[in-house]
Amino acid sequence: MTRMTGADAIIRSLEAEGVDVCFGVPGGMIIDTYDALYRAIANGSKLRHVLARHEQGAGHMAEGYARASGRVGVAIATSGPGTTNLVTPIADAWMDSTPLVCVTGQVPSAKIGTDAFQETNATGITLPIVKHSWLVQKANEIPATIKAAFHVAQTGRYGPVLVDITKDAQIAELDFKYPDHVDLPGWNPPRKVNHRQIAAAAKAILEADKPVFYVGGGIINGEATAELLELAEFTKIPVVTTLTGKGGFPDSHPLHAGHPGMHGMKYSNLALNRADLVIAVGTRFDDRVTGNVSAFAPNAKVIHFEVDAAEIGKIREAQIPICAPLKPALAQLSAELRKQIPDGREGDTDWLNRIAEWKDEFPLRYERGDKIKPQEVLEAVRDATEGRDDIVWTTGVGQHQMWAMQYLNCNQPRTFISSGGLGTMGYGVPAAVGAKAARLDATVICVDGDGCFQMTSKELTTAVLHNLPIIVVLIRNGYLGMVRQWQEMFYGERYSQTDLTGPIPDYSKMAEAFGALPISVTGSDEIAPALEQAITENAAGRTVVVNVLCSEDEKVFPMIPAGASAADIIEYGSHEKAKEVEAR
């Protein structure tokens, strides 16, 4: 045991959890912890701190770090506005099950409830969007609380937790001893696999003629991608992966049947629509995937593998629910199937052929025009990185995100990092900085839109100053493009407040001001050389913004309008159909 302050104990606890980098912004009620950090670093601590320019940035960086590394992301902020600025990343992490520990300073215990300067009820504000939170008012409770926080964040279904620590607790002294176990009698995420359910799943798979794996982000959090690959190959069952599941099964694999949902591929949606068995794995039947729930996979039996019991049966009834950690569950299913069919499942030739035909019949399409089309940029950036296994992608939210999902090839988990459930514009740049901190060996490329970029571009400064060089490929169409698309298709072309207004700001000058290298692209033939230059400069340590002027009215297709079904898919060049669907 060592005598130290609560602030020192916070830093020591983070070190004990093996945290190598944390993200944050200091302030009055967390200043003591930053002082402890300073002294720890001066004394040779390996803990690094990345100073974000805004707490929202710090939170998204911690998310990007977590998603790229598979480890818990740590964000630190002061009380009041520091904490409220963290609310968006916390909500984002909650929706996408990203493990996050947020440490926030709080006003002294004696001042709580007095509306003291920069006081806010941190645990109250974040209550609906955390797995758990703690208000710590005693220094000697810090080590056990931080231990518990890390445990809860990364067990069961991953997610964010908040530890709010008063200033007096940071100042007071304690005898430090980091506990070796947690005392959480009410926290018992599933650990075992019910073998009867596995046997039932195996039986259903052997009986199915048109089965599909529908795989979400849980496959990545659950570290079960190898088990899925084995299972899919052994059973010859096609796999669709969601936005958050992208990379959880190799995009280039012959059994990969694309991405389902509102802007997914037509063949992916048709596969789900016509399936007689949907094997859902680590996914929650999000409305952006299902559309009209009653018309989603209408003829299919459902097997649902999910670690969170509350997700099973929430949207769609599962005939075979399997509430268990995915890795052992999928491994047991493989083993069970191997017992019954040692040489592997034959594969449903008709079904696989049908999907292959749909794939040929309904590829992703767009037409070139006078101005650069965003799809061209995505194809170019895909081609420029082809064959490389050291690329990590992040995106903002909107049209560019959907094109990124459609066109990029991700063959490994943790290489596509995007805001799914919350749809947080501005996620891309800070998430890229965090991903880079986790993967210094990788080339981290943020595909961003101009609306998103304006929300968080200041974190380029963080990338530059902390030597975390990233590439931003900016799809600049001058509009809040996804909203514009809806306005064009469903709101009579009334472009209410979506015009970002011409050349202001000058994105290249912005990039330059933040210390990044701008590369401006205005013609199709400039794209490939610009990307090549960006990759070379980035490899030499520069943060680069490839500023691509694109066509403003390009729309993302295919599209299933909100609440519609796979039967209502609008393809490229046929969006008059939107009006029909809307009229119903």
């Binding site: 069961g156 959480l184 009698p185 009410g186 969170d308 019991a309 509350a310």
Partner: protein
């Protein structure tokens, strides 16, 4: 449909708001709520009564179960549980009507816990539905004030 949930929680700040929030976010009102100690130190029992759709209840129950401070959640099924509640009623009782009121009270097992020149405070312990009946009965006399503890319940002994 009304449901009674019995939740065992660690006795920690915020446990109640984490639970009640899951009803509030869906726009469900908690009709009654009782919190108290249990046979185990550091463990409280929350009994709450809500009117919500079956499907939502299943979802809410699972989400409550997931909360870090929650040890167990069960639904109390009317036939399989003993349910009780305490109520106090201040009823207008001019001397000429006291006889009737006292007869009702006697029938329902309500006690007089305070007596004034124009009012009686009745105290009644019983099944919540019996409390409802007594309330209906005395309402025409003028209920000046009323308070109920919220129902509490335990599974029946024979089931254990």
């Amino acid at each position: 449909m009304k449901h009674t949930l019995s939740v065992l929680v660690e006795d920690k700040p915020g446990a109640l708001s984490r639970i009640s929030n899951l009803f509030a976010r869906r726009g469900y009102n908690i009709e009654s709520l009782a919190v108290g100690q249990t046979e185990r130190e550091g463990v409280s029992r929350i009994t709450l009564r809500v009117d919500c759709a079956e499907h939502s209840l299943e979802q809410i129950t699972k989400q409550i179960h997931k909360l870090v401070n929650v040890l167990r959640i069960t639904e109390l099924i009317p036939d399989e549980a003993v349910e009780r509640e305490i109520a106090l009623f201040t009823v207008a009782a001019p001397p000429e009507r006291r006889g009737e009121l006292m007869a009702f009270a006697d029938h329902y097992g309500a006690r007089v816990s305070d007596l004034g020149p124009q009012e009686i405070v009745f105290e009644m312990v019983g099944h919540p539905e019996d409390l409802d009946s007594f309330e209906e009965l005395v309402r025409p006399y003028g209920i000046k004030e009323m308070v109920r503890t919220g129902r509490i319940g335990l599974s029946r002994a024979v089931r254990r």
